[in-house]
Amino acid sequence: MSRYLRMLFVISLIFVSAGCNRRPGPASAPKPTAFGTALVESSGGKQIGATGMVLAQPVVVQVNDEQGTAVAGALVELSGPPGVSFDPPSGLTDSSGQLSANIALGGRAGRYQLTARTLTKAQKPVELKIEEIALGYQQQVGFQLDDKYCARCHNPESTAERVSNYDNLEVKPHPFTEGDTLNKMTDAELTAIIGHGGPALNKSALMPPYGYTLSKTEIEALISYIRLISDPPYHASGMVYAQK
């Protein structure tokens, strides 16, 4: 019987060792050499990227102490919803107290809340929320159309490549991020004003109609882009379903 037991033991040992996961765990974060009390965003927030793709600019966060001076060597950890990847996901701040990470957003179009986290000397977590927007295929098309047809008037910011026409207009157009106004308009109203121009909604004739230039699909794409970048965020009206 003991021979059986011994054999059983040996067999079970083989199974157990085979079942053991020999993959090494995630690389452990480096040990912080200093601690701060505050986290601030230096750059890289509120970017508009594309689903799954690396944001054009890295996100840079800075750790400060009580006096507001930068702390080098503090540990910063970055996290976000599933699908978001960080390069690197954590690290020590450099000599200017900053950590820079390249970020690829997840596969779902929408807003992404990212969190940067550091610990104070008393091991208390300090968090910083950073928001980024990912455009899906449809919004991406909308973005390109905006860039070609709309942004020259609707975006008040001028760049070296594009001088804004916003200031030249007697009736000011609404920037597409202006959620307070645009969120109150229904999809049908936006379709009407894009397709038939300002007068379709008793608004300024300075807004020309694009219904003979853009296709129905293109106008839908444009609206879905406007909805996504609006600030405060747009929530479709109508039935709200209980969420699991």
Binding site: Y4, A50, G52, N102, V163, N165, A205, P208, P209, Y241
Partner: protein
């Protein structure tokens, strides 16, 4: 202690000792074995997900509609023409349910809106993975028998590129990647054949090295070879990570191999008075050099175009004699250059030579001290130039462009994983391999020749995307299912005007008949569009048409006969077949109609939001100023443009207003009266 044989016998006897009992036991075993298959089916992963889906939709407002759309069991999309058998929709049940937009957990997330449906193309055409599998692991990951895991969303645009050769609005990453393949000259060394028989062509035009001693010093070549981006941050030349002796020997060979071009070494004209810096800077500005050439400013920002090389440190690179000769006529040194022949006066050439010569960086060559080259060094340099395949990109006199210098990448997107040697700690997937190869080619072996490129993370991803689109499927799809690329034509204008246009490199900025750049308007129908006197005056001294535009037509200092030659050619040859040039009178419209046009302009169509007529009152910045459009544009062109701008110039920004004939005629009548004042013409 009992013996094992006794024990076995007893178990055997208990079970099968009696024939009736044995029959019972065997029947039971049979029943159990028969139950295995249904049980496996019942507890399968996909059933679990379908049940989860049903409980998810039960609480929603449109549960009945969703329930009606739901079909139990394994779902399959079968597309014989693509070889697609996809069962993904078995678990991904809510793909087409618009009302599930708020569900963020997989597998029930709604598919984003795209121009194709899963019935048309299935799932694996775009996402890869194993379509026929019915377990999560087998469908998504690479297993023993299946090499294609799910393609990360990061590279999903590569799938569009399998069928779409032409750039798509919705795939900026793929478009960028394809552009970079040409712009960074990848295809000089790596051949990429396309399904239609063509190949991707390089667009970077690397300079010839056959006469480099005319242009630069050996010290500069050495510093450049060691680190091209230290000289110009925007340079597309990769870093070959050369050792000091290797860089020394290559520079020695290139200088000794260079043959002079007459005229390049001539020193300047006698007038050696110090050039006026403000005059030089304004000449640089007036000539719109910045439309093509960038300069890095003090803040580190690169400002300017990317058609020509960056000029931040040009004075360190180019010898003044060469710069002078180049500015006088670049075509002597490089017949095919994109740089126009400006016909500068000697004084202007001196001004610009001095201005550019001052753009130096002493640090760049501070530590470069090279002794006179020995014959051994030159011979070794020649060997290195051959080994590194310099002649794949650059013309080197006495050397032939090597064929297939690097592996062909025609089907890289379907490269079998078994043929790939991965690095330690790397994920064993094709996208990871390709992007690692682009990011750090030498990490795969220090003896590899592929140089290190300076690319941003987004550029690496874009290149990876473009390469992953080169799959077997992209090549084997029936031609009827692909969307071909509109290849640039090899249109060449004829005669003396054609020579002039080549000399002034018109095609660098303007497109005509499908060939040329997109920086400036397409001129294919220019002859139908403009009036002869205006064109003549414009070619002589190009004025500003669009107030907010940074890039403008430079002044080429053309002679009167050259202007006439060009004007004749444009007015005769570049005519549209859509309408007769003289089909509408250029004036003499009834005043009532003109007034009606003015009303329409300001009220109904509100053209002033984009165009200026009255330079004091109007402010529109987007379209060209129309204050003198009556002396610039032809009446029939105005009318047809108003009716449908995109038909006259594809891609025009001005929206089509679906104007009635009457309105268009009234607006034409009004616009033809806007002759402008001579003063404006001269103001520029």
């Amino acid at each position: 202690m009992q013996s094992p044989s006794k024990n076995t016998t007893s178990i055997w006897q208990t079970l099968f000792g009696h024939p009736v009992r044995a029959f019972g036991v065997v029947s039971l075993l049979l029943l159990i074995s028969l139950a295995i298959a249904p049980a496996k089916n019942h507890f399968s992963e996909w059933r679990h997900y379908q049940k989860q889906y049903l409980s998810l939709i039960r609480t929603r407002g449109d549960a009945i509609t969703l329930q009606r759309h739901f079909h139990e069991g394994i779902q399959q999309i079968w597309l014989p023409q693509f070889g697609v058998v996809d069962r993904c929709t078995t678990c991904h049940v809510g793909l087409k349910e618009a009302s599930l937009g708020d569900v963020s957990s997989q597998p029930f997330r709604r598919h984003p809106v795209i121009p194709h449906t899963s019935e048309q193309f299935g799932c694996v055409m775009c996402h890869r993975g194993q379509g026929a599998a019915t377990t999560v692991e087998e469908a998504h990951s690479s297993t023993l028998a299946w090499e294609q895991p799910i393609l990360p969303v990061r590279y999903v645009q590569s799938s569009c590129g399998q069928c779409h050769r032409a750039p798509l609005t919705g795939t900026p990453q793929l478009n960028l990647g394809r552009n970079l393949l040409g712009r960074y000259g990848c295809v000089h060394c790596h051949t990429i054949k396309l399904a239609d028989g063509g190949a991707i062509k390089p667009t970077d035009d690397p300079p010839s090295l056959s006469h480099i001693a005319d242009k630069s010093t050996r010290e500069w070549i050495y510093a450049w070879l060691k680190d091209p981006q230290a000289y110009a941050i925007t340079s597309t030349m990769p870093n070959f990570k050369l050792s000091d002796p290797d860089a020394r020997d290559i520079s020695a060979f290139l200088i000794s191999n260079s043959t002079p071009i007459p005229g390049d070494t001539e020193s300047g004209t006698k007038d050696q008075k110090p050039p006026d810096p403000t005059a030089a800077a304004s000449l640089y500005g007036e000539s719109f050099c910045a439309s093509c050439h960038a300069v890095q400013n003090a803040a580190g920002n690169v400002v300017g175009g990317d058609v020509g090389p960056e000029l931040t440190r040009i004075g360190t690179k180019a010898k003044p004699e060469w710069l002078r000769a180049w500015l006088r006529n670049p075509r002597v040194y490089d017949a095919g250059t994109a740089m126009p022949h400006y016909r500068f006066t000697d004084q202007q050439v001196s001004l610009l030579t001095g201005f550019l010569g001052n753009k130096t960086d002493a640090d760049l060559l501070a530590n470069v001290h090279l002794d006179a080259a020995t014959p051994e060094q030159i011979a070794h340099g020649k060997l290195l130039v051959t080994e590194y395949g310099c002649a794949s990109c650059h013309e080197v006199s006495g050397m032939k462009k090597p064929d297939n210098f690097a592996p062909e990448l025609t089907r890289i997107g379907s490269k079998p994983l078994t043929q790939i040697i991965f690095l330690q700690g790397m994920q064993h997937t094709l996208p990871d391999y390709v992007s690692a190869k682009i990011r750090q080619p030498r990490s795969f072996g220090s003896a590899l020749k592929m140089p290190q490129y300076t690319l941003a993370p987004a550029q690496v991803d874009a290149l990876t995307t473009a390469l992953l689109s080169l799959t077997d499927r992209a090549h084997d799809l029936p031609r009827s299912l692909t969307v071909p690329e509109q290849l640039p034509s090899n249109y060449q204008p004829a005669g003396k005007a054609g020579q002039l246009m080549a000399d002034m490199a018109c095609f660098t900025c303007h497109a005509i008949n499908g060939r040329g750049g997109d920086m400036a308007p397409d001129l294919t129908w220019e002859g139908s569009s403009v009036q002869r006197p205006w064109l003549q005056a414009f070619l002589k001294n190009p004025g500003t048409l669009r107030p907010a535009l940074i890039r403008r037509m430079p002044r080429f200092n053309l002679s009167d006969s050259e202007v006439t030659e060009l004007t004749d050619y444009i007015m005769i040859v570049y005519q549209t077949p859509v309408f007769e040039r003289d089909s509408m009178p250029s004036g003499g419209y009834p005043p009532a109609q003109v007034e009606q046009g003015k009303q329409l302009f300001y009220s109904k169509y509100a053209c002033q939001s984009c165009h200026i007529i009255d330079t004091k009152a109007d402010k529109g910045y987007i379209g060209p100023t129309l204050a003198q459009v009556g002396s610039r544009l032809n009446a029939a062109w105005i009318y047809h443009w108003l009716k449908n701008p995109q038909a006259m110039r594809p891609g025009a920004t001005e929206p089509n207003r679906n104007m009635s004939d009457e309105d268009a005629r009234a607006l034409t009548a009004f616009l033809t009266t806007l002759k402008g004042s001579g003063k404006l013409e001269a103001k520029k």
